[in-house]
């Protein structure tokens, strides 16, 4: 049971981690809780379905599986990046410099809007996410492991590594870190702050899109309110890891998912969310800087 719960938790953790990165990046740079981030993830899953439908009618899913998989990830990534950038432009940028309450309320409004917009145009019923990858499963230390689970873990870890490299090594990545530390100063050395913020939203949204498509593939079912719960959990993960800290968000995602998984398995399935919120509250009260807040400063974006 322990090994199985570990596997269960790791897959959910990969999803939490990818979404949490978006929260942490945006918080790092704007000190804003982007409440609508969970909805971007949900939109990613829906765009994935739309892409699959088009590919299906073109017959591409049969003839060229590899290309289909690439497109099913790529197009939602592009769309979510566009949504993220638009979101920032419409709901947050006009409020920069306003009291902190205003963007937060605007963010909640945007979350409500996007969630219900999808409900209006896509209908409220659950949507099937067609199964693209038929991967077998095997047993490992008494736990069932599915090929898809490994696929998801590899993608998540790979993206995380790529993001770290981007932030550490590239010029734009350094500009992101500089902007997060001192926005005005960054503009004084010639950084176009608005562009950097747009890029930050785009990156966060791209990661959320990947998470959305993966969740669609993994569970086979998507609806318009998956964004809220996943968003809350991912935010908790980001706080757990130390908000603003990229490595922290990643670890926080896995840690929260594993805690949840073991709690649900060994203690109580119905109090699982209570437990997750307890973790959030306790961390915020006793260690608001998160588990990596003290030591991982170098990672701060």
């Amino acid at each position: 049971m322990f090994a199985q719960q570990l596997v269960n938790g790791l897959v959910v953790g990969a999803v939490y981690a990818l979404i949490a990165l978006g929260y942490t990046l945006v918080y790092g740079i704007l000190q804003l809780i982007n409440f609508a981030h969970g909805e971007i993830y949900m939109i990613g899953a829906y765009v994935g379905i739309a892409v699959l439908a088009v590919l299906g009618t073109m017959g591409l899913t049969q003839t060229s599986l590899a290309l289909s998989i690439v497109l099913v990830f790529l197009i939602p990534m592009i769309y979510c990046a566009a949504y993220g950038i638009t979101l920032e432009r419409v709901a947050y940028r006009p409020l920069r410099g306003a009291p902190r309450l205003s963007p937060l309320i605007s963010a909640i409004g945007m979350s409500l809007f996007l969630q219900n917009y999808v409900q209006v145009v896509q209908g409220a019923r659950d949507k099937a996410f067609p199964n693209l990858l038929e991967l077998g499963s095997f047993q490992l230390f008494g736990a069932y492991v599915n090929g898809l689970q490994i696929f998801i873990l590899i993608i998540a870890v790979g993206l995380m590594a790529a993001l770290q490299l981007f932030i550490k090594k590239t010029k734009l990545g350094k500009a992101m870190r500089a902007t997060a530390q001192d926005r005005t100063m960054a503009s004084l050395v010639g950084v176009n702050v608005n562009r950097v913020i747009a890029v930050t939203f785009a990156i966060g949204s791209v990661l959320a899109a990947v998470a959305g498509v993966m969740v669609g593939m993994y569970y086979g079912i998507v609806n318009h309110h998956i964004g809220f719960v996943a968003g809350m959990k991912a935010f908790t993960a980001a706080v757990l890891g130390g908000i603003g800290n990229v490595t922290g968000a990643f670890l926080g995602g896995f840690l929260l998912a594993l805690l949840e998984s073991f709690w649900a398995g060994y203690v109580s399935a119905v109090y699982k969310d209570v437990f997750a919120f307890m973790v959030l509250v306790v961390v915020l009260i006793f260690r608001p800087q998160g588990i990596l807040g003290g030591s991982g400063e170098a990672d701060r974006t």
Binding site: M185, L188, R300
Partner: protein
């Protein structure tokens, strides 16, 4: 080179700049003195494009730049060392310097300039792997100036470079500034330390409550009884 004409700026509801006009000629060091809250930093931020000017214009070699974005203004050769230095605390010294050359694409030139600023401030070379936030105040000021130089500015804006530093360090810094000046970079200096500023500059302005009240050669100002009383503490 740089000209401000009747600049007005509002900080919330406060009319912080009430018609500031001044000029920096090529190759000159111009200083702006005034007490706390007179609007000196607001003026610099207006030039750098951070503060949106409500009225008036800022001309760089005859071209209006007041509606441009800050990054565009850096690209045009104006770079500011803001008050309080504002080092990126979690970036290393080297990364801070690299940020200074953010807009440049000539890798070779950047490398050269890196060596150049390290020759100006050898201590930065020693500390290049250290995070900016761990430097001492004087080192941070040096880093801030070096960072600004990395953008190869034609005009350097300096906001209170002597603030809170030991006299020996101030001396080092002004020696370097003199070298920069001699190499042909224009300097616009904002200082509370009027002695220091007047000694260093070719032209000086005095600012009070959002307005320029005097503008003359430093020698003339030094002899003015008003300036003597208010800023030179005599």
């Amino acid at each position: 080179m740089l000209e401000l004409r009747d600049i007005h700026f509002y900080y919330g509801h406060i009319h912080a700049l009430q018609g500031v006009s001044l000029e920096v000629r090529p190759g000159q060091v111009v200083c702006l003195i005034g007490s706390n809250g007179a609007g000196k930093s607001s003026t610099l931020m207006a030039i750098s494009g951070v503060n949106a000017v409500a009225q008036g214009e800022i001309l760089l070699e005859g071209e209006a730049i007041h509606a441009r974005e800050p990054d565009d203004i850096v690209r045009r050769g104006i770079c500011q060392v803001p008050e309080g230095r504002r080092i990126f605390p979690h970036l290393t010294v080297l990364e801070n310097l690299e940020m200074g050359s953010f807009l440049r694409n000539d890798a070779g030139g950047v490398k050269e300039d890196l060596d150049y600023v390290c020759s100006l401030f050898p201590v930065l070379h020693e500390r290049r792997g250290q995070r900016g936030g761990t430097l001492s105040g004087g080192e941070q000021q040096m880093l801030a100036i070096a960072r600004a130089l990395m953008s190869k500015p034609r005009l350097l804006l300096l906001d209170e470079p002597s603030l809170g530093l030991a006299p020996r360090i101030i001396e080092t810094i002004f020696e370097v500034l003199a070298r920069i000046r001699d190499e042909g970079t224009g300097i616009f200096l904002v200082e509370q330390n009027a002695h220091l500023a007047l000694n260093f500059s070719d032209w000086a302005y005095v600012m009070e409550t959002g307005r320029i009240v005097m503008g003359d050669a430093p020698g003339v100002l030094r002899d003015s009884p008003a300036v003597r009383e208010a800023y030179l503490g005599e």
